[in-house]
Amino acid sequence: MTALLEVKNLSRSFGGLVAVKDVNFTLEAGRITALIGPNGAGKTTCFNLVAGSLNPTSGQVFFEGRQIDGTPPEIVCRMGIARTFQIVRPMRDMSVLENAMVGAFSWTKSVREAKSKAYESLESVGLAGKANARTDQLTLPDRKMLETAKALSTRPRLLLLDEVMAGLRPTEAAGVVRVLQTLAEGGLTILLVEHVMRIVMEVASNVVVLHHGAKIAEGSPAEVVADQKVLDSYLGAGFHA
């Protein structure tokens, strides 16, 4: 097993608030890892630190053996890490297709190639039929899928997904889960923030649990849901695996 991404003693504070505290984990290539934890646990901050949107206060991030923390987000993306935003950020005045094309221009200058990649990305998240729609005509779950398609167009080797299945009906979520599994079988490594435990159990081979910025547990989904600390802090008494 080779580590595609390695996060070492990663910390980030905002003023007095420590949002991420001495976090360590590694991502194995071609696997889906879930990053879970209660609201405010530091999951999105972790994404921002890996993707270059934020600089760590201390600690390092290695991608394919290279230290990348502090690298600007556009360069991190070009190295092969794509991310979605929890609060969706569609390009307002561009169509769904055009939105999905932007990422392709990180590896091609050909509009034709970008268009065909964009269709492929939209197809894989089930949005191909809405390619010519304006983004404000999309429902919120669709906009989250558009975020995923935009990220896929950059041809990432590591994909960071921040709650992209929120608001989906169970059948729709199952469809996305299948897409993620197919992508992972094709060699893509995925780090997924997700609150619905059923989805986490189904899709992730490894789970990292954050609480108050610190990692409190890591392991297979079955191990994690049996962990007393996780039950106490996040899943609560009502949870049955």
């Binding site: 600007p72 556009e74 005045d93 935009k150």
Partner: protein, 333 residues
């Protein structure tokens, strides 16, 4: 395709205007076309690249002075002057952009910086004896003979130069819009952090779009100087000109290919008409007041500008026929 047919028809009409209209109208339309082109350059920067300039007169003036100084002082062809002006303005734009984005000056603060730079240049040129200082720089009166290599000729000749420039502006904008630059620049305009997350190197693209816009503005400025026959720092580099440049695209439709032309066609003749009426009624300033009111009305009633409103209207008119289109297609098969 239909857009291009309409565009071609507009240019045929404008060609006929140049051949047959009376001299006053031709010189008015020359200014309209030049400002359509200048507006296009500004539109590329804000409407597509998302970078606001309120000091475009800086680049216009650099182009005009490059042409003027080389021609008047050294007898060098305006073609060389235009090229030099574009290089100088493109570099000044790039340096200005680099400096401000390097130090995180952006958005409205960058716009303020463009005003400051234009005002600085205006005062500098106004005190520079070699380029005529406040007295300005005068081109020799045209003989009327057309001399293409020196870009000299009468009013009719300059009309067609302006028309060619406006056409080049529209074609250039459309080509850029459809290339990868158009997509990347619009993404950067709509959401810079999101564009960066998708691998868009926004720092260099912002510098590039500003530099291209500045170089185009300088080309328009060089021709404007020739058309007016004289260059004065207060008019060619003044705030007033910076505002005149942006009125066309704002009225016509920001970020659209045909907006700057439509906007200039509407706004500049209106301004001239109102000032003529004001003169005859002996009400000085009537033009500015009416002009202001009309602009406010346009921005208020048609916030996207005139061109998108026309485009929507055309679509609405065609909508019923679309119902029949699938049937027609089937009939063809």
């Amino acid at each position: 395709m239909k857009r291009w047919l309409a565009g071609a028809m507009v240019f045929i009409v404008l060609t006929l205007v140049g051949l047959f209209a009376d001299p006053y109208f031709i010189s008015l339309m020359t200014i309209v076309l030049l400002f359509a082109f200048l507006g296009q350059s500004w539109n590329l920067m804000l409407g597509i690249g998302g970078q606001l300039s309120i000091g475009h007169a800086l680049f216009v003036g650099l182009g005009a002075y490059s042409v003027g100084v080389l021609y008047v002082k050294f007898g060098i062809s305006p073609w060389i002057g235009l090229s030099l002006g574009m290089i100088i303005a493109g570099s000044v734009g790039a340096i200005l952009a680099w400096l401000s984005f390097r130090f995180e000056v952006r958005g409205i603060y960058f716009a303020l910086l463009t005003i400051a730079a234009a005002e600085f240049a205006r005062i500098m040129f106004g005190g520079w004896e070699f380029v005529g200082a406040m007295q300005g720089l005068f081109f020799p009166a045209p003989t009327g003979a057309i001399e293409f290599s020196m870009l000299r000729g009468g009013a009719g000749f300059y009309y067609f130069v302006a028309l060619a420039l406006a056409a080049l502006g529209i074609i250039g904008t459309e080509l850029i819009s459809r290339s990868y630059l158009g997509y990347v620049w619009r993404a950067m305009r709509d959401d810079e952090p999101a564009a960066r997350a998708l691998g868009v190197r926004t720092f260099r693209h912002k510098i590039l779009v500003i530099s291209v816009s500045a170089a185009a503005a300088a080309a328009g400025g060089g021709i404007l100087g020739l058309v007016q026959g004289a260059i004065f720092p207060d008019s060619i580099m003044g705030m007033g000109l910076s505002v005149d440049v942006l009125i066309g695209p704002v009225v016509g439709g920001l970020g659209t290919t045909f907006g700057p032309l439509i906007g200039s066609l509407a706004a500049i003749p209106l301004n001239h008409l109102m000032s003529a009426i004001g003169d005859s009624l002996r009400i000085p300033g009537l033009n500015n007041i009416t002009y202001g009111i009309v602009l406010i009305l346009v921005v208020w009633l048609l916030p996207d500008g005139i061109w998108p409103a026309i485009a929507r209207l055309c679509k609405a008119i065609q909508a019923p026929s679309r119902v029949w289109l699938p049937h027609l297609r089937k009939a063809e098969e």
